[in-house]
Subunit: 234 residues, 2 copies
């Protein structure tokens, strides 16, 4: 096959380990205040409100807003469930920005650096621009541009998000490849004409919980991002 | 003064030498077809249509389109003046993308790499995303994001372009610095609350034609981008 002319990447779960990072960040903020929670359960609960919050916007019930805003709303939803209360505005803001302090899987930056040799690379994530910039600076993701939900004004898997990324780079969808650890994301990309690359993240929600292989036909699949680059000849 | 939390950059003239690059690219495309023009005059004529074309959009007479599209229109405007005709579509397209093949001033990439240590950096140019990505890949500009006209849907010096860049990074204008070799660009940024950094490009339109120093009060001025970084303590 012809190499893709651009590659787009899912970020949460695909490039960064949000679960262990959020657990660590929540503990760093809340433990000094005297709280002792199941930190991984806290991470899972926060992430659990992610899809329902975006669904309000996908369906048009709420106007588009940045994911940072939804994360804040979701944080305030779950804090009472963990009996956390009376946090200062500064603490809430710092805790919410835990999503800007996620660590990458070890192969993400080396893999992206190799893939960037072949063509422009950009996140096509539901995260907002600031969040993507923070994760890239922290983890040395060498993006050519920041695409995704904020330039599209909607959230994946809505078609507009994938198509806005292609249009931003003046490319036909068939010249672009979406890379993700989630078959549902890749299926949506494929429905809109993009090629697909799967990367295995078997431990995303804890050991053995993630997709070790794609649940659909994809153009290329890698055991990690460096393997994916090698399979693309990079 | 507090260091800026983000820095935005003009590109044409400020980071890249469009004039000598366009002259070289035009010669590379047209000379093999038997044309012998004043290549610098050709570059100046093409650039001469830049502001009038954007003005049609700034005033609302035409709908926003990417600068690549305006460059193509402007190219077709000037070709007859130089008695160039009957170019193939492939040749026209390749010639138009000369703007994707501009070379940087020698200090641009080293200066940006130093400035990026301090805060996120992004172009705030009238060029479209693809054009910015191509120049960055060619010249190793280490952008954190691509901001500017395309995400704003308008052209500088309209306020929206500067403000959309600040909003994309969730920053107040007063926390952001616009860097340019043109005082008119900096004056517009300052009117919208941004800080200003001037970089001297005295030879932009030929020896001694550019601004050797700012024509207004700025927050910082450098003889080149490395000097600007040093003056910001980076």
């Amino acid at each position: 096959m012809q190499p893709p002319k651009a590659m787009f990447f899912d970020v949460f779960g695909t490039l960064v380990d949000w679960r262990n990072s959020i657990a660590r960040e929540a503990e760093a903020v809340l433990k000094p205040l005297g709280y002792s929670l199941d930190w991984l359960a806290f991470a899972d609960a926060w992430r659990g409100e992610y899809q329902p919050a975006m669904e309000e916007i996908r369906t048009g019930r709420l106007r588009f807003c940045k994911l940072d805003v939804l994360h804040r709303r979701n944080l305030e939803l779950i804090l009472p469930r963990f009996k956390v209360s009376d946090l200062s505005e500064d603490t809430l803001r710092h805790l919410n920005l835990a999503w800007h302090r996620l660590d990458a899987w070890p192969d993400s930056a080396p893999g992206l650096k190799r893939l960037k040799v072949g063509c422009p690379i950009a996140p096509c994530s539901n995260g907002n621009i600031t969040l993507m910039v923070a994760l890239a600076r922290r983890n040395e993701f060498p993006w050519d541009a920041i695409l995704g939900s904020e330039i599209a004004g909607d959230f994946k898997p809505k078609p507009r998000v994938y198509l806005a990324a292609c249009e931003a780079l003046d490319l036909a969808p068939s010249d672009c490849m979406m890379v993700a650890a989630h078959s549902s994301d890749l299926a949506a990309a494929a429905r809109n004409g993009l090629r697909t690359g799967h990367v295995a993240r078997p431990n995303e929600y804890g050991p053995g919980t993630g997709e070790a292989r794609p649940g659909m036909t994809v153009d290329v699949a890698g055991s990690d991002l460096v393997d994916l680059a090698a399979k693309l000849g990079l």
